[in-house]
Symmetry: C2
Subunit: 283 residues, 2 copies
């Protein structure tokens, strides 16, 4: 059992990992990709780097710094976080257990750029089967996704209805799906009656639905948080001055809690969260 599992290998996550490890805490970092510090992004204003540094290089330096301290940094994709008396973190490869979890997955910059998407968001379009699925029992549901994350949502959806259609939105399916129709066309529009979404229009056809669930790409901090019952405001996790959410032991730091989306702030958040985590872990 880890003291803390940190999800995200950016400035907030790695900074927290270093401070925790220096206090002899047993930490694990699980990171999928470079998030908003992707290739091509230049950071000029992070203190200590004359001439700037690329996002990729900064991420790599951070991971190197962590591994030099003996911290495990895994390249896996977290699909679910659950809490009973402790936390269970499920990735595409394994499950891990921890006393506390720090969400430092950054701010997802992606959304579905489809006509009608913004209009019907929250009006028949949802992002969390566990949260909103209840209202759609027995209905005909669309699940937009193509990978592990979609499969995880599909399993939750099966408790609600057997009328499910998978839409990959043009992405190749990376997981096996059995017993449900899969539409691999690109989605062109989501239409409705003005009040609620009613159908999905693809390049090759129109599909009437009662509800749409989106599980595209990877779940972010807000997805995990919502599922586990943590408070979210807009696209930010709500944390107290110790960077703890309303769920005991669940912390969040960096872009995911809002404020200025800057490396300096994320690194400092991670440090502060680690200091607070140390206090909790002492108990």
């Amino acid at each position: 059992m880890y003291d803390t599992i940190i999800i995200g290998k950016g400035p907030a996550g790695i900074s927290a990992a270093i401070y925790l490890k220096r206090s002899n805490k047993h930490v694990l970092v699980i990171g999928k990709d470079n998030g908003s510090l992707y290739d091509g992004v230049m950071i000029d204003n992070y203190y200590g780097f004359p001439g700037g540094i690329s996002g990729t290089e900064l991420i790599e330096r951070g991971v190197k710094q962590a591994t030099e301290f003996g911290i495990e940094v895994l390249q896996e994709e977290v699909i679910a976080i659950d809490k009973l008396d402790h936390f269970t973190v499920t990735t595409n490869k394994n499950t891990y257990e921890a006393k506390t979890v720090l969400l430092a997955t950054g701010k997802p910059r992606t959304t579905l750029r489809i006509k009608g998407f913004q209009q019907y968001r929250g009006k028949g379009i949802s992002f969390c089967v566990t949260c909103d699925g209840f209202f759609f029992r027995g209905k005909h549901l669309a699940l937009i996704g193509y990978n592990d994350f979609m499969l995880h949502e599909l399993k939750d959806m099966e408790f609600l209805t057997d009328k499910i259609t998978i839409f990959t939105n043009g992405n190749p399916l990376t997981v096996p799906v059995e017993g449900y129709p899969v539409v691999e066309d690109k989605i062109i529009e989501i239409t409705g009656d003005g009040e609620v979404a009613k159908s999905i229009l693809t390049e090759n056809g129109e599909y009437a639905i009662d509800g749409i669930f989106v599980a595209l790409g990877s779940p972010g901090a807000v997805d995990f948080a919502t599922r586990i019952g943590a408070l979210v405001e807009g696209s930010n996790l709500v944390v107290n001055e110790d960077f703890q959410t309303n769920i005991e032991g669940l912390f969040a730091a960096g872009d995911t809690v809002g404020g200025v989306l800057q490396v300096a702030k994320a690194a400092a958040d991670g440090m502060h969260a680690a200091i607070a985590l140390k206090k909790i872990l002492k108990k």
Copy 2:
């Protein structure tokens, strides 16, 4: 007239300078030395530096980063800050004017390690002639110091009394002093009656005094702040969530405002202060 003069060239000061300069603000950084990031200090836990980095190297990288942005970084010693309708910053070489000032001088790690010093601190031992001198009008005062800072305090003291003795505490005098006795011996003890300091004991003699003022080394943020009327709690400047002190236009960031004394926190403070300064400067 500068938009902002930043005093201190460490993580908080340089970070603020970069953010302000990126917003086209006219900034000047005045730094004296590396403060607590002196030679020999290794920083392992600042995000982005695998293997750690020495304090000196980090400071140098920061200054290089700032000058590459076209920011002036002066190697001068600030002796006084005054405010009328704008700020005047006096160094050992020149005076500069600015609309706002950011104090980022770090936390002074020095104090007088002399027997009786802690006992009589605040009981006959003071650190600010402008603040406490009034209570010692016409009295026999000791001024402990040896450089520009001491000379600045001496000029304020002359309005109060002509019975002044300078004690350099073993330091060679670096400024000319005329008309007052100068004792260059090392101070061994400050003695008193238990209530208040009464005399200074050096290697070679004992000197009866009514009050002692300390102006050793360089003034720090707390010294400047106290003189200008800013609130201080213990050894920390009191700032609001925008890093502004109770004096309009006077900001402080980094170690000098307290909290954890870490590079990540100082750099983030500087960034946050810069964002708040930009808003004020817009008005």
